[in-house]
């Protein structure tokens, strides 16, 4: 492939690719994002290749290994073009049938279709499934149409046309104006207006090799792909599934602020993202979208990938820059913005993966198009990673302002197992828990903050009635005590004490005044911590106190866990009126704590019981004899002579 030397040549090249592609040729798109790989996408791909060859279709059928489709609960996902027949949870054994029936015979295999649980209707096309129908997939949508390792696939769907538009006549001021007008706000969580951040760096003179501006400063653009929130993977899937969209945004940003060097800071724990972005950079260099004289415009820009060493705090922008400089990833104590003094003391614009991926869309379709999505102060869409106690886990992209209820029920399909919704935790480990009465909250940067949580980078963990909110707070604070850099006192020591207090409460050692002490330590961490990690770390504690104070009080005053979840505060008990002496729990108990025999009512020895919950799980639901109790003493065992069960069949004899 030779370099593309001008925007016109790029258009020519795009036409060339499209003319060689037959839209009616069967193509099997197989999701190969990390989640689908974990559920066996590689094996399905191998069987597809084998079967296509076996049936002599090698030159008639294409396989496209795409990035994440988002509906990870039902992966691996396979879409057969041109009909776009969508199959879910495909296994290698299904492949011969798919090839002979669907690809060759144009027949739909009913059992592989998605069944709408509310109507029992089988759905053929992905776009008609409720999970997808209620989304607006501006950023993630292209994942399904491209092989992330193929730059031609990206070019075929219009890739790099935004860059071409910029370089064929827009000034950097015009680019800046468009981004400012779009009101795009940082998707990493801060929600800072992207255009204003760029402008701060653009306003300073640039150092451009060999030009009159040589006296100006070297500037940097940086992609923050250090996504470390438990359960969140939206940046991962964007980088894995459509790396060129992020690169294109980055190149445009570099042009706007006058940077010639860029970095992609990506977690080492994301090997596929690293691989795909490395390939993308190499391809973009070959095509002339990166390097010297990009598209013949005279603009030079190079990108390097830096792999993070696995510290959550390095996602904080100044810590990330310190880590890029080769030092320990600790936030800087400075009060000067990074767009003035950032990486190596130079003006640096750092944006999240998702922010960068929005840029080509804004340039191509215009700020007016972009601002039609979203709320007054938060425009566009946001990708959420919807996980936890929700039927359809996966990646969800919706316009800002969509209600939590729509996300969790319409898209997420509600809570599985007939359980009741309790709370949703948004914004990663330092986000807050939002209760049922706020389900109609319209999700955007400001509304979430008002509710005591935050947007963060888009984590959304759904919790049901079995979740103890004190334990949730303890879990997140535990995570943060590990992941704090440990530099400043309010964060390191404040979190240490908060963790101790929360642990004590969950094991029944809570004391009067603990809630107030947690509030005081939270206030100090918010007011005095060095970086955003410490300043937001109290959110899980404060939001659970705000909405679930009664649970804290039950733990402290009554030594009772209302969710029946805190091990130290619950006991398992077999209701003698319900026990059928079936021996199932007795046999399964790993510590032999259950006494009984056939036709002899079972009793749990509370001294031996380790509260593993096995008896509770295995007791047949038609009996429901094993129960959990909390905050009250375990009833004393029934007398020996009352334990024998006389079976009906025997009675009739």
């Amino acid at each position: 492939m030779s370099r593309i030397n001008s925007p016109a040549e790029l258009e020519q090249f795009r036409k060339g690719i499209l003319s060689k592609r037959d839209p009616n040729k069967p193509c099997i798109a197989l999701c190969s994002g990390s989640a689908c790989l974990a559920s066996g996408s590689d094996q399905v791909a191998a069987s597809l290749e084998e079967e296509i060859e076996k049936q002599g279709l090698s030159d008639q059928v294409e396989i496209r290994r795409t990035g994440c489709h988002g509906f990870c609960e039902r992966g691996p996902i396979t879409i057969i073009h041109p009909e776009e027949t969508s199959y879910f949870q495909v296994e290698p054994e299904d492949v011969p049938e798919i090839i002979s029936q669907t690809v060759k015979g144009k027949q739909v295999i009913e059992r592989l279709l998605y069944v709408d649980p509310s109507t029992n209707e089988k759905i053929i096309h992905e776009s008609e499934i409720p999970f997808y129908k209620n989304q607006e997939r501006l950023v993630l949508g292209s994942n399904v149409s491209i092989d992330p390792k193929s730059i031609d696939d990206y070019v075929a769907i219009g890739g790099y046309s935004a860059l071409a538009k910029v370089l064929s006549g827009m000034t950097s001021e015009q680019v800046l104006e468009e981004v400012k007008k779009s009101n795009l706000r940082g998707r990493g969580g801060g929600g800072f207006p992207t255009g204003i951040k760029w402008q701060g760096a653009a306003a300073l003179p640039s150092h451009v090799e060999g030009s009159r501006n040589a006296s100006g400063e070297t500037k940097y653009v940086i992609v923050n792909a250090d996504e470390g929130d438990p359960g969140a993977y939206m940046n991962r899937s964007t980088l894995e599934g459509n790396p060129h969209s992020v690169l294109e945004g980055l190149i445009i940003g570099a042009f706007a602020i006058g940077a010639q060097e860029g970095y992609i800071y990506v977690r080492q724990e994301y090997p596929l993202a690293v691989e795909n972005v490395d390939i993308a950079i190499k391809q973009a260099e070959e095509y002339g979208f990166l390097g010297g004289n990009i598209l013949g415009s005279g603009f030079d820009f190079n990108v390097q990938v830096h792999q993070g060493a696995g510290a959550f705090v390095s996602g904080e922008s100044t810590a990330l820059m310190t880590a890029l400089e080769g030092k320990v990833g600790e936030p800087r104590p400075k009060y000067i913005r990074s767009n003035v003094k950032g990486l190596w003391g130079r003006p640096s614009v750092l944006n999240n993966v998702e922010t960068w991926a929005n840029v080509p869309l804004i340039i191509n379709k215009g700020a007016d198009w972009f601002t039609q999505f979203g709320t007054e102060r938060s425009k566009g869409t946001k990708i959420f990673s919807l996980v936890g106690k929700v039927t359809n886990t996966g990646l969800v992209e919706v316009p800002m302002g969509t209600t939590l209820r729509d996300i969790i029920y319409k898209i997420g399909g509600g809570i599985p197992g007939g359980k009741r919704f309790k709370a949703v935790q948004t914004g990663g480990p330092s986000g807050g828990c939002i209760p049922e009465e706020l389900l109609d909250l319209q999700v955007d940067f400001d509304e979430l903050t008002r509710a005591g949580s935050m947007m963060g980078s888009g984590g959304m963990i759904v919790m049901d009635e079995d979740t103890c909110m004190v334990d949730v707070a303890r879990y997140f604070i535990d995570f943060l005590t590990d992941e704090s850099c440990g530099k400043c006192v309010p964060c390191r020591e404040g979190l240490r004490q908060m963790h101790k207090i929360l642990t004590n409460i969950t094991v029944g050692k809570g004391r009067e005044g603990d809630i107030e002490l947690l509030e005081e330590l939270s206030e100090v961490a918010i007011d005095a911590s060095l970086c955003a990690l410490g300043r937001t770390a109290p959110n899980p504690v404060l939001s659970t106190i705000r909405y679930f104070r009664d649970e804290y009080e039950a733990h402290i005053k009554e030594k009772r866990c209302p969710a029946l979840s805190c091990k130290e505060l619950i006991s398992y008990y077999i209701d003698p009126t319900k026990c059928q002496a079936c021996m199932i729990c007795l046999r399964k108990c790993p510590v032999e704590a259950i006494d009984g025999a056939k036709s002899k009512i079972h009793i749990i020895d509370q001294e031996k019981c380790t509260k593993c919950g096995t008896c509770f799980e295995v007791c047949p639901s038609r009996f429901g004899a094993v129960i959990k109790i909390s905050g009250e003493p375990v009833p004393s065992p029934i007398p020996e002579d009352a334990r024998t069960i006389v079976r009906k069949s025997k009675k009739n004899e």
Binding site: P333, K487, V489, P490, R496
Partner: protein
């Protein structure tokens, strides 16, 4: 060098550009407590005890005075209910580790901090980083450093360097605000292992 005029605790203060609020305050004899600050070392901003309130352009916020640079017309308050509350909490959190530190005890008296508020976890080190930074920035030896992060973070001597450099230096010992023996103890531990 241009002069900057600001106000600290109602007092007009003339400062040089590039001075921190702490330096400006010290230049006119206004005391702001510090634990991780040292005039020979780069500002670190870790202990947060030098926190003050600044008002600029009508907006008031909390900043640490050892890092924040002076600005024209800046209004600084070094004591307030909020500031004292934060300092008291910081002292109580640190006293759980180093209850016998005279420096912490003196400040505790001033801010009414209760040294027994939190359960003792006597590791002595309060992570001010004075030994680590002095060794790196002044002595340029890096014989002592921080290891791990979060609540497991601790100082540690690097035996290969310490065995050569430390015996004739020990300049970090008196810097330790909790106990000079702390550094010595960790040093011996490192060399013995």
């Amino acid at each position: 060098m241009s002069e900057i005029l600001l106000q600290i605790d109602g007092k007009k203060v003339q400062a040089r550009e590039e001075m921190t609020i702490l330096e400006a305050a010290q230049s006119v004899g206004i005391f702001i407590p510090t634990l991780c600050h040292h005039e020979k070392l780069e500002p670190y901003g870790a202990c947060r005890i030098c926190i003050v309130e600044v008002t600029v352009g009508g907006r008031t916020r909390l900043v640490v005075s050892c890092v924040y640079l002076v600005e024209e017309n800046l209004v600084v308050r070094t004591r307030s209910e909020k500031i004292d509350k934060i300092r008291k909490a910081i002292l109580e959190l640190l006293l759980a580790h180093a209850p016998d530190s005279p420096k912490l005890q003196d400040l505790a008296k001033e801010y009414g901090a209760d040294k027994d508020r939190f359960e003792k976890e006597a590791s002595f080190c309060i992570h001010c980083g004075l030994c680590v930074r002095y060794c790196a920035e002044v002595k340029k030896k890096n014989a002592v450093g921080f290891i791990d992060r979060g609540i497991r973070k601790e100082i540690s001597f690097i035996p290969e360097i310490a065995s050569k450099e430390c015996w004739d230096c020990k300049e970090c010992f008196p810097l330790c605000p909790t106990s000079a023996l702390q550094a010595a103890y960790v040093l011996i531990e490192a060399l013995a292992s």
